[in-house]
């Protein structure tokens, strides 16, 4: 390779490297802000601010869903299966994928009792797909709670 071409290649490598480092620094600085939501640990730990609109996520705890006797009101517990969980209160239509054990994102604010008053509920899907027959088998086989890192928010 002649000198001019090598110099151009070196210049490109430097520009690309510089851009990559800049992007890495910016993204690291923004770190927490790029996360779309607060995990249960940080809601319980008090890092999530009360009284302002935030997003939080977790898995719907088994047996925690309580529908109001009348109306669309519902309350449920979001958990990370590792000891952190908080109560969510929502009035509205739940997404089709909402069910116990499902990853859920809620938008809203924490009130004074640190109950999450949600204005929007989104379902988070994991990367696993299977036919209904197989899902039945998988459910029967596994009695352990799902791995909170596999597809959990």
């Amino acid at each position: 390779m002649n000198t001019r071409r090598r110099n151009r290649l070196v210049a490109i490598v430097f520009v690309l490297g510089g851009t990559a480092v800049t992007a890495a620094l910016v993204l690291t600085a923004l770190d927490e802000n790029i996360n779309l939501f607060y995990p249960p640990e940080r809601v319980v730990g008090g890092e999530a601010p009360a009284g302002v609109t935030i997003r939080a996520g977790g898995m719907v705890a088994d047996g925690s869903v309580e529908h109001d006797d009348s109306g669309l009101g519902v309350s449920f517990v979001l958990t990370d299966y590792q000891g952190s969980d908080f109560v969510v209160r929502y009035v509205g239509i739940l997404p089709d994928l909402f069910r116990e054990g499902q990853g859920i994102l809620v938008t809203g604010e924490l009130d004074d009792e640190r109950v999450f008053q949600a204005s929007q509920v989104l379902a988070k899907h994991d990367e696993n797909y299977m036919p209904p027959e197989l899902a039945g088998i998988a459910e029967a086989e596994s009695s352990t709670p799902p791995d909170p890192h596999a597809g959990a928010p």
Partner: protein, 254 residues
């Protein structure tokens, strides 16, 4: 000169490339369309439905291939940008010029199918998480490449400026890929990878593989056709193009 060296050297000649790729075009197009028909019918009709999402998961057969391609095409343009800036190969500039609109269209399809899938699955058309936002940035990068080319007078200068943007923009590709691992996002981690255990059973995964290859071949055919067109246009004042045109005209029997 080594054989590879000779090949690269000849690649610098648009005429040689034009003559060489003629038989590839039909082959790529036929294989691509055939695979797309097989994969799409298989995926939409015969693959089992998902245990949670039901039939709406089937949009994966368009969404995943286009999302993959959107990133791959950008990386290819970045490589072409390096080739243009270092070796001043005209063909690399033509490749970037032809690929940018194709890549933007493919990224648009990925965003659109993602939104259509997001509504029933997540409950929202759009969410500003790291994955969706970085793909939107990719869309605007493609758009930027096209706008920049038009904004700068002089083909050579425009080409170099575009190449720089193509190279710098590749930084976004690993951010897209790893966004779902680095940050908390609503978007799930990758479902499709050739190097890792599939996240779905074979009867769902195979049609996806067929469609991924089908999309790659079809888009390669589109880019190649565009590239051959671009060669004719840019070399239109050369003797060989005029000869080719004459032969093409008399060959068509008019």
């Amino acid at each position: 000169m080594s054989r590879l060296g000779a090949f690269v050297h000849r690649l610098g000649s648009p005429r040689w490339f034009f003559d060489m790729t003629k038989p590839w075009l039909a082959g790529l197009a036929i294989i691509g369309i055939a695979l797309l028909i097989v994969g799409t019918v298989w995926g939409l009709v015969f693959a089992p439905e998902d245990y949670q999402q039901g039939n709406s998961f089937r949009i994966i057969y368009v969404h995943v291939p286009t999302a993959h391609l959107a990133e791959a095409l950008y990386l290819a343009m970045g490589v072409a940008g390096v080739v243009l800036l270092v070796w001043r190969m005209k063909l690399a500039d033509m490749f970037i010029a032809v690929t940018a609109p194709v890549g933007m269209a493919i990224t648009g399809v990925a965003l659109l199918t993602g939104a259509i899938w997001g509504k029933p699955t997540w409950g929202a058309w759009w969410v500003w998480d790291a994955r969706t936002t970085s793909v939107l940035v990719l869309f605007f990068l493609y758009l930027g490449l096209m706008v920049l080319r038009e904004a700068i007078p002089g083909r050579e200068r425009a080409g170099r400026a575009v190449a720089v943007l193509a190279i710098v923009g590749t930084v976004n590709v690993p951010i897209i890929k790893y966004s779902v691992d680095w940050w908390l996002t609503l978007h799930q981690p990758s479902s499709f990878s050739l190097t890792e255990q599939p996240t779905m059973p074979v009867e769902m995964w195979l049609p996806l593989l067929v469609n991924v290859i089908g999309f790659y071949c079809s888009v390669a055919a589109v880019v190649l056709a565009g590239l051959r067109n671009e060669i004719l246009e840019r070399e239109s004042d050369t003797v060989w193009v005029r000869d080719w045109l004459q032969r093409a005209q008399s060959g068509s029997g008019s």
